[in-house]
Symmetry: D3
Subunit: 336 residues, 6 copies
């Protein structure tokens, strides 16, 4: 198995129970997660050696994060302790026609205030096979932008495969800001996750409305490939949101000039879609690390994402075997 490193914030999510608004509830459910860490947990569950670079306060919430990561086999050697607080957000859980609402309360967190000097990047990257990072980290602070850039650079110097997911969050930064920063990062990226809106609004590529959805994606990926020939593969999902409880999902993986697509899943009775995208990313990264066939990779990754929608929590608790079995026959019968 491979050594994987992720850099990213771990937040406390405080969710309402289904059918209650945040202003009406007196009970909140706790989950810990963050885009990069969710990927790390899933890769650890698949058997890889995963190290998370992050920072949490030295209080019971920090302890809880540490226990959560360790329970999923994630190494916590580089989970720093200190700083002011754990970044938090409230999730008013959506259902049916009502979408979920996120209220961020993440400013001034231990991770947002992390300084580049606190992280022994070279030591960590030694013998590492894959580095994964997303656009949320550089969105959080100036210091984290520097950390992101220098980590990616350092990774390339150590021959570490680098993975970057745009993960644009409008509540964290403007499209303009994000685009400028990401353009500095992309020259050091091998594997890239982005979609049509990212291409248009962050990278400034002209939209091409005359094409089909699939062909448009190929068109954008080719354009980005021209700009950053270092990028070896792209991935993303097509998600149609019928309601907060019903979506369709199709995975896309672009490699060697060709787009591979999974079948289209109709996902209904969604339990929790937070982390659904990260489950897809982990599937792609696992497939690439294991040198699986592109068709198989995108099928595995999409199945992983679909299953994630059926459980509470940010991390994907399914094993490789369960995901392959689901990808292959997807039966929903009781086995007894």
């Amino acid at each position: 198995m491979k050594k994987v490193v992720t850099v990213g914030e771990i937040l406390l999510r405080l969710s309402t129970e289904m059918g209650r608004r945040l202003s009406q509830t007196d009970k909140l459910y706790m989950h810990y997660g963050g885009a990069e860490t969710n990927v790390g947990i899933s890769l650890a569950e698949f058997g890889h050696d995963v190290y998370v670079i992050s920072k949490v306060p030295n209080n019971p919430l920090g302890i809880a994060v540490e226990r959560y990561l360790r329970s999923y086999r994630v190494h916590t050697n580089y989970l720093l302790k200190g700083g002011e607080r754990l970044g938090t957000y409230y999730l008013e859980t959506g259902v049916g026609q009502r979408s979920a609402q996120v209220i961020y309360d993440r400013k001034n967190s231990s991770f947002a205030n992390l300084e580049k000097e606190e992280v022994p990047i070279r030591e960590i990257l030694h013998n590492t096979d894959l580095l994964h990072i997303t656009g949320i980290t550089p969105a959080l602070s100036k210091s984290l932008r520097e950390l992101t850039l220098s980590t990616l650079k350092s990774a390339k110097e150590h021959n570490v495969l680098t993975s970057f997911d745009f993960n644009y969050r409008a509540k964290l930064w403007s499209q303009k800001e994000a685009g400028e920063v990401i353009k500095y990062l992309l020259p050091y990226v091998d594997i890239c996750s982005c979609g049509e809106l990212d291409a248009i609004h962050l990278l400034g590529i002209k939209s091409n409305v005359s094409l089909s959805k699939k062909d448009r994606l190929i068109y954008y990926y080719k354009k980005i490939e021209e700009m950053y020939p270092n990028i070896k593969c792209f991935y993303s999902t097509f998600r149609d949101v019928t309601s907060a409880s019903t979506n369709t999902l199709q995975g896309n993986l672009y490699v060697n000039g060709e787009l591979y697509q999974s079948k289209v899943y109709e996902i209904d009775h969604i339990v929790d879609r937070v982390g659904g995208g990260d489950a897809f990313s982990s599937g792609i990264l696992h497939g690439l690390l294991e040198n699986l066939e592109p068709k198989q990779i995108v099928s595995f990754a999409t199945a992983a994402s679909v299953l994630k929608h059926t459980v509470h929590g940010d991390g994907n608790p399914f094993s490789k075997e369960e995901i392959f079995a689901f990808a292959n026959n997807g039966s929903s019968k009781i086995s007894r």
Copy 2:
């Protein structure tokens, strides 16, 4: 904003949790509500000055009702205290193919025994813009029939706009009884909510099966308009019940001889449809009070009703802004 007065009973609803029958459960969830009060809460949430005329016992349940109303900005100056008991009903929550069941235990309630003399109608109606009342109130007792009639009459004398919703409940009175009483009330009504079955069975209008559903509704409204030319507008919804969890909903508003319809919503994963009709009424009344365009009113009201189905409780906790946003783009994506 406007001054609004409602007259109606507030009941304690005791509901089972989903998937449990009343005979199998050992836990009940409490909600307070009533057709007129639900409208009042929603109008208060939209910013109007709402006064509820009702009566609750002088015990902890009465206190709970009072706190509930006040928390939603409803004025409780005319919420009388006294009498025997709070009207109650048990709701065996429906799900999928199984419909909800209501077991009423509302006889002899403080409100049902309310005497006309206890209510200072003229004082209350002073400066009032809108009076809202439904067919449930006169169904409860002889004394309340008198109160209903004299309040409507008094409202017309004070130039108060009057709104009446048929709200026929077969468990409370027969169609014959209801029809007779309502015919006395309609001459004092400006805004009227009723549907095809009300027209046929309560008002004795001949059904006209050769027409489409939409044209039939126009036909009935024209007939009623002929009988009661004082009525300035009619409204109602078309609801198709696929299952207890899946409905379609379309709003209708008839004004100046024309029927305005909202788009048809597919509502799935219904959390609680009690109060869904009242949410629609409040949307219509708000739109009329604010002199919005008929098309906009029915769109706003239907959106309000759809959103109500996604939360537990009788009252509609959504703001005007949230409802307009939903009516306009209805996205169910997470905003983050």
Copy 3:
């Protein structure tokens, strides 16, 4: 009403709440049930005199089983007390695209170790109208195979109507083992529940893929009828599993050479499908005991099964009246 006897294990089911995996939860919900007992409970609820032959440990779980049965009018005279333990299984509740998982922990249970001599078969069968047993009982132990065979034989000697449901469970025995045992039992069976896979894999009948699903079923039933002319009627359901939360269901009843089918139900928002098949069986058996028309029987039985999917627990808590009402109009409107 009729006297009915069932023989079978009663298990403790320990289920996770929706959206939690077994490895992630700290809370389990308890239900008691077993294929034959579920049928017994439903028949008792329909008004029959039902006696359950089973064995539970002499501890609080055994007491709980006893109280549960008695609460549904089932006679516990032949519910033996003793032995090692109550058979148990864990159910990781499925939802949406994720199917339920069963983890059996039922070995060495009080019932599995039941000896033929402990049961006064002749005494019990006295005046009995119907004996119901399923393939799970002989799958559990050698001693229970003997008990099954001798009980069926004894029943035929006492002119008791006998009902046998294949209920094949791959986790309990192989198709080969099951087929061999069941072939010994079928000569004593009057009413038989089995499906296409049973016919092919357990009885060795050649599949006939050129026919439609319906015609294939007729074909298999005719074949079995030829082998065991004592069997007077067959029944089964067609179930399509769209997801763990959405199924379609159609009931089949084959009698006097003709196949009667219910309408096809789309079941959505499934609460708990465990016991759904047993609810169908009880509907069929009730109809046969009451000499209803075949068309009416299969309609009643399918309606019973559909309703069962809307409540937690193995037993079907609906009354005859409720099931008939649902079969006839199936409305999901709130009645109020």
Copy 4:
């Protein structure tokens, strides 16, 4: 074992969870119970054949009562179905320094409106060993006063042992009313439960403050014995209420001119004291039915009552064996 008959109302108790006031909660816990029925359940659990005379509405709550009784082996042959509603009360659970509050909502219940003619008293009393009734039943309506009196008379004609518990409830009738009615009943009573306040305020016996608590009780019992020489034994408890969670309890049994007392229990961490007195009564009645020694009876009955305080619900779910074991060594160690 013996045949026992009780007459009394079964109520739905709706309790708040600990630490929440009724005006603050949105969840209620359901228990069914009533003074006489609680005694019946416990006697059935001890092995007696118990028949409950009562009436519940023909709705899901009535079904729930029936299932509850049957689960505890109580015969429901004389549990009538019909009438308006199930008597209900709200219990704001007490804890520490705050006492529990009862809000009755029991008027116009099916039982309160029960007519003497509906009950086939002579048929029921055939072969009965013991009739148990309390002062709550005659407090509910004129018709029930007649039923109480005629049942007691009828019992004496059939040589049935009669048991009467004063059970005075100030919220149901005045001391004067209660005293007058009870004086008519006592001539037909063999076993009587009452205390000092009953003797003074209901029977008008002069208090005798110069004596110790124990000697006062003997004094009152002797006085009542003089007035009603038919009464063969008296029983009651001394309860000191330190707080809603901490009480002391001592049982008293007066028979053949002598007072037998249990040891004094310090009861702490009280879970639910509703039904604590009825558990004591059942212990006394069981001991008398089984002709145990007075000392043993009062010890058994008090132990039964103490154990009842440790479980939710009105009925006492402990077996004879458990109660004797507790009475004898009372250990609170884990047994493992």
Copy 5:
């Protein structure tokens, strides 16, 4: 009744359930409260016209605070909306030998950043009878120190009675800082709550260990009175903490040179002691506003505090009548 104004932060409290550590739980209970607001709620419940000066974010948590206050009759005219976030703290609920732990996450809250200019002090104080404020407010920011001082000064100019509670919180500021600030405030205070440790460590009064606890308190109050002759009365409680679940409590009120003490309560089975001190303060302030006798005031206030310990939440939900009844007989018997 009187007009009362309070100034203070309202926090979201996130508590674990009993017996779970914060690092182990996945569920938190929400309560809103703050020292000054808790007093305001209780005074509103006693019938006074209460206005809370505070600031909450313009998001669902801010709405929840507003609804909570209104439900308890508190006026929200001066509850400002805006700023960054709602101050939050985590409470690891204590039980038995384990004390509760508070983890503050309140920095940068909307209230902490409130500027003096946002509050129309003179308008608010018009016709006000009492202003209540505690040491927490000036501890939060420089701007709030100025607001506190200018509000107190302004109150004295308007002849408003002023109440100040030291409420020293070591996690917010040092004793030195607190002492310096409070010395500036005390010249404008009429009613003062402080205890021995405040006198020694904040005001620098020499301790006097030779005296009894009671006499020491008198000694400190006399000393402070000499320093600030404007202070008309002092109050505080003696609390002995046997365990997190068992405390003793005695109230002290010093007025006209004399110390009045309540009886000593043994409080056991504590449900939630947060807000217990504020309940005491509200009792004192109510008594002073109503010109009750000192003995009666301290008895009422201590009873209020004891009752608060028996319910979850910061605010005291008991009415005057309930508190007087408890103060007078304190019975913990069920009333039925």
Copy 6:
């Protein structure tokens, strides 16, 4: 820090909620634990490198055990996967006067069937500082008796400190059996936990009733020391069980011929006493590993045990720092 190895079964505990009997509940709470593992978790929490030798089934319950251990820093390298089932027991939680009841369902578990050959003892013991094992392990099967003996012997060969806790369980084996086996083990033990009853009934030492409790313990320890001079120290607790919710606890540590005792704690409002003894053992073992003073060790260990009683679950989640702080001042005040 030190390397520690434990050998023992990990069970699934299924507990009722407080105030519900097992026969009455429909919900069970899950905890994982076992005497040796509980000690291991606590030592890992104190900072030691702990390896657990055990075996769990290869199913979701086995995965849950693994995650639980890892979350508390325990190494799972020697947690074998395989076998039939996870040993289970039901705990009817005690409260007040009612003691907890244990119903074992642990036969035929993966661990009970563990064969000596599956465990690479020599590899594991390499560089180990301490081996901890209790009497439960040899009680489970013949094969485990051999494993226990050979592991202890092997440990002595490797100069590993050995710790043995009698932990006699009457439901697992007779005193005679236990005594015979333990006598074979003691010659290889350095640290021994046993009490008076163990000495009398398992080792056959004559009781000496004339002495005080403390002196009797010294007497027994001296006697055992004479029999097994290899044992370097003994420890145990004195526990008085007032009720299931109230105990007193005092720790004893006998070393170099002297008995050191902690203060006596009154433990009230007990949340969960399962694992309380193991928490004490871990405190003792930690103190010995760290060469603390005997007085300090017993104080630390007893404080650890007391704190354990305040949280749900078998493992002790408190840090060294928290335990020392509690041992030193034990305050139950809120810190804020």
